[in-house]
């Protein structure tokens, strides 16, 4: 079955079994192995990618449903020598160990920060109508769909907070 996938700004014609998940299309058909398979059941978050601006589990999505959707994977976020602030913060704060959950954590955090910027509350947000502040508890809650068995969680929280602060500082400096 033919599908046109738009990934990191480039289009790919994929001829794959209709049962092929977006995750397996990325890994087995397109050689984009930065997106990881940890459970194939939407339980671990290792396969998180960004689809039209929202974070999704690519293992729970069939590739053939993604025609026309703008997909961003870890390969589209930054590369060695030109890392995004969030990726750089993960390195400095040791927000990983084995690194297998890391692309999913970073894709998830990227979209999560956007959710916060749009004022989406979480279960730990005190004021459901006001702005959510990026406390440790907010970050931990919003990142709990991404498991890390090496358990870099405190460092992941620090990295995300650091990157968000830097981005905010840059924005203020620009204004």
């Amino acid at each position: 079955m033919r599908t046109t996938l738009t990934i990191n700004g480039a289009t790919h014609d994929v001829d794959a079994d209709p049962r092929t998940t977006l995750l397996d299309a990325l890994r087995n058909h397109l050689g984009l192995t930065g997106t990881k398979k940890g459970c194939d059941h939407g339980q671990c978050g290792a396969c998180t990618v960004i689809a039209d601006g929202r974070r999704i589990n690519s293992c729970l999505t069939l590739a053939c449903m993604m025609d026309g959707v703008e997909i961003t994977t870890i390969e589209g976020l930054g590369e060695p020598g030109d890392l995004l602030p969030l990726q750089d913060a993960f390195v400095r704060h040791d927000g990983y160990q084995c690194g297998y959950c890391t692309p999913g954590q970073i894709c998830s955090a990227t979209a999560m920060l956007d959710e916060v910027a749009q004022g989406w509350p979480s279960v730990v947000t005190d004021d459901l109508t006001g702005d959510a502040s990026l406390t440790d508890a907010e970050i931990a809650e919003r990142m709990s769909g991404n498991l890390c068995r090496c358990a870099a969680y405190p460092n992941i929280v620090d990295a995300i907070k650091d990157a968000a602060d830097r981005t905010a500082d840059q924005r203020e400096a620009a204004e």
Binding site: D24, N28, C39, Y96, Q97, G145, P154
Partner: protein, 729 residues
């Protein structure tokens, strides 16, 4: 040139302290970090050769003997290439350092979920559907029961000294309790995977493996080939925690399938198969007896453990490994009892032995503190022995007292012993708990090659793996420090059996053993440089690519005109037995327990640890964070459940087996006692730290629950129902 050292004597030279580059022990970022955060680090299933076929295992639905395997429907599917039913397929993985094939012959089914055949197809989707279509008929066969019943007590695993019964009788305070811990799963984020590719009679296998020099022999023996014809590549491993110590079913199956089809074959286990067909930590039942005088000084210790494994597996969870030496007490009984069961193979899961043994023992110590009316930190301080009380040998170093004191101060430990259940915030009950951390320290044989180039770059090569532990970082730092190079001028190549055999990653030996091999190789290079400059090696200073001696500073390129290469080779020796080597620490936790639901939240957690010279403050801290988080899981949520009827793992995925998520873990703090140097361990005076952080961590939380509520949970994990039942009593 080879520099070989056997650790027969203490090494008090502290040579690394003489070096000038100043990169060792710092919190240097991992050099592999940029590849990992950008998704460019290739794991086992990610360098897929052109035309690679996909293999998916057929799973045994029950225990017994396979009498027929109906694969007609599978073979009829478009795209299916073959169904492998070879007798060489593994029944379960090899135990760590086995160095030979584990049990083979998949038709004899010893546990539910055992792989019994491999369906190979052009796409993963076809292979998966075809594997599910295979009809399996299994007849009854004589097998062990699915739940532990009868236990053997092997003579060599029982020990006693003095008269524990008399000590218990005469004691002012005693504890005599039974505790249980459930089976655990390592659950690394990368499922086990392998890609096999043959070139004539030579096999290249990309795998997710921890100990390559052993894995090569295990895989070669399983296949019946010469290890010389086998190359294993594991440059990046997505977590191991013991589950990838030995070669596992996917590697052997991929190799056989690739041979049968003449094409490269990749096999990645599903998450369910990782739970069922790799390794579990045995459940344990533990009886702890403590006898103490009125001041809480231990006079007697009893620790009996009941564990299980498959028939004929030599491994059994070494629960009492640290009991002989952690605390004083002249009367001591240690017992070990093993039941044979038809369950997933039991093997190493992070810190086999102490992870569950120290945890239970430290809960018992908390019970003793309460019974004796003594602050739990003070109780432990009073029981630190001067020498190993069982073997009557000295400790190489014993940092428990320092860790207790520093940890209590850093955490803000309340030593006023408030009554359990006395601190409330609304419906939350608040309590603090603590526990000691202890883990035996070992050294393993390892080799590494170091090449220094005249342009001031260096290359480090060994088949050592980095499973998240930080091998790339610390080996870079050791070489940079010894050779006086900025770390970015050092390249480290790992995870390739064509390179000199390191220690592998397991039992917390990787950093100190493979690191020592790199240290020794660098020493060889330094000797060559010193020779070229006409000075003694000890008079040579290397810094920023300059060789400095006799008040002369010379660029390396002027000292050597070609690459200088040396091999380092470390072996354990007499110091392993002459002294008791261990790593030490202390945990402190504050929990809030909900009086309505019984839910426990860990509010604060701190650990102070000592492990000799710390090689990288950042990666060492992360290892401790990881261990303590495993402890949170062990205390509150992790429990591998087996069906009572057929023994199958009921909760075989990450939605049902609950490892901690981000919101379960507070901003844990870690303090490393950086100044310790342990001369008996290796030429770097360093010790392993990968497992120390889990050895007792759960006890701090369980003890805090008791302080918060008065409820003593002795059957881990401390789930809501158990806490509620205690509150209602």
């Amino acid at each position: 040139m080879t520099i070989h050292t056997r650790m027969d004597d203490a090494d008090r030279r502290n040579r690394l302290d003489d070096m000038a580059q100043g990169v060792l022990s710092t919190a240097m970022d991992r050099p592999d970090g940029p590849l990992k955060v950008s998704g460019r680090a290739p794991y086992a299933h990610e360098v897929q050769p052109e035309g690679m076929l996909h293999g998916v295992f057929v799973r045994a639905p029950r225990i017994g003997r396979v009498v027929s395997l109906d694969d007609a429907a599978a073979r009829a599917m478009d795209g299916v290439e073959t169904v492998v039913t070879d007798d060489r397929l593994l029944r379960n993985p090899a135990q760590g350092t086995a160095n030979e094939a584990p049990v083979q012959g998949p038709r004899e089914v010893f546990y539910v979920g055992q792989p019994i055949a491999l369906v190979v197809a052009r796409t993963f989707e076809t292979a998966r559907a075809a594997a599910l279509s295979v009809g399996v008929e299994i007849a009854d066969a004589e097998r062990a029961p699915v739940a532990p019943q009868d236990y053997d007590s092997p003579d060599k695993k029982q020990s006693s000294q003095g008269d524990l019964d008399a000590a218990m009788r005469d004691a002012a305070v005693t504890v005599d309790r039974m505790y249980t811990t459930p089976a655990h799963s390592s659950a690394p984020m990368e499922p086990h995977a392998a890609i096999a590719e043959w070139d004539g009679d030579r096999l290249t296998l990309r795998g997710s493996l921890q100990m390559l020099k052993f894995n090569r022999n295990e895989l070669a023996d399983s296949l019946g080939i010469d290890p010389k014809n086998l190359r294993i590549l594991s440059p990046y491993v997505g977590g191991g925690f013991g589950s990838k110590l030995g070669v596992a079913p996917e590697a052997v199956a991929a190799a056989i399938a690739a041979q049968e089809t003449g094409r490269p074959v990749g096999v990645a286990l599903s998450r369910q198969q990782v739970f069922e067909a790799t390794m579990r930590r045995s459940e344990t039942r533990q009886r702890v007896r403590l006898a103490a005088d009125a001041e809480g000084r231990l006079t007697g210790i009893g620790h009996d453990a009941w564990v299980s494994n498959l028939p004929d597996e030599s491994y059994s969870e070494p629960v009492t490994q640290a009991t002989p030496f952690t605390y004083r007490g002249e009367n001591r009984v240690i017992g070990h009892h093993v039941a044979r069961v038809s369950r997933t193979c039991a093997g190493s899961v992070r810190a086999p032995g102490e992870a569950v043994g120290i945890t239970v023992f430290e809960i018992a110590m908390d019970e003793l503190a309460h019974a004796a009316g003594i602050d739990p930190v003070e109780l432990r301080r009073r029981n630190i022995p001067d020498r190993d009380p069982t073997k009557d040998i000295p400790f190489s170093s014993n940092m428990l007292a320092q860790a207790l004191d520093a940890g209590a101060a850093a955490f803000g430990w309340d030593d006023s012993r408030p009554a359990p259940g006395s601190r409330r915030e609304g419906e939350w009950m608040i309590g603090q708990g603590m526990a000691s951390a202890v883990r035996v320290n070992n050294l393993a044989e390892a080799k590494a090659r170091v090449t220094l180039n005249p342009d001031g770059t260096a290359l480090v090569e060994t088949d050592m793996t980095d499973i998240g532990t930080g091998s790339y970082a610390i080996l870079t730092q050791i070489a940079a420090e010894m050779l006086g190079l900025p770390p970015e001028r050092v390249e480290v190549r790992l995870g390739d059996t064509d390179l000199p055999p390191g220690s592998g990653s397991g039992g917390s030996v990787g950093a100190s053993s493979s690191g020592s091999a790199v240290f020794l190789a660098c020493q060889g290079v330094r000797e060559r440089l010193a020779e070229a400059m006409g000075v003694a090696e000890t008079d040579l200073t290397l810094k920023d690519g300059q060789a400095i001696a006799d008040n002369r500073s010379t660029p390396l390129g002027d000292v050597i005109d070609g690459p200088v290469e040396a091999l380092g080779h470390i072996e354990p020796g007499k110091t392993s037995k002459a002294v008791r080597q261990a790593t030490w620490g202390a945990y402190f936790a504050e929990v809030a327990v909900n009086s309505v639901t019984g839910e426990t939240r860990v509010r604060r957690m701190h650990g102070t640890f000592a492990a000799g010279r710390i090689l990288n403050a950042k990666t060492a801290r992360s290892q401790c964070l990881g261990g303590m988080t495993f402890g949170i899981g062990m205390a509150l949520t992790e429990e591998l459940m087996h069906d009572a009827r057929d023994g199958h793992v009921v909760n075989r995925d990450l939605a049902e087996y609950h490892i901690p998520v981000n919101a379960d873990v507070p901003q844990i703090t870690v303090e490393l006692l950086m100044e310790e140097r342990d001369p008996w361990t290796n030429p770097m005076q360093a010790k392993g730290i990968g497992e120390l952080g889990i050895c007792g961590a759960a006890a701090a939380i369980v003890n805090a629950i008791h302080q918060a509520t008065g409820v003593r949970v002795r059957d881990l994990p401390a789930t809501l129902d158990k806490v509620m039942a205690g509150l209602e009593d």
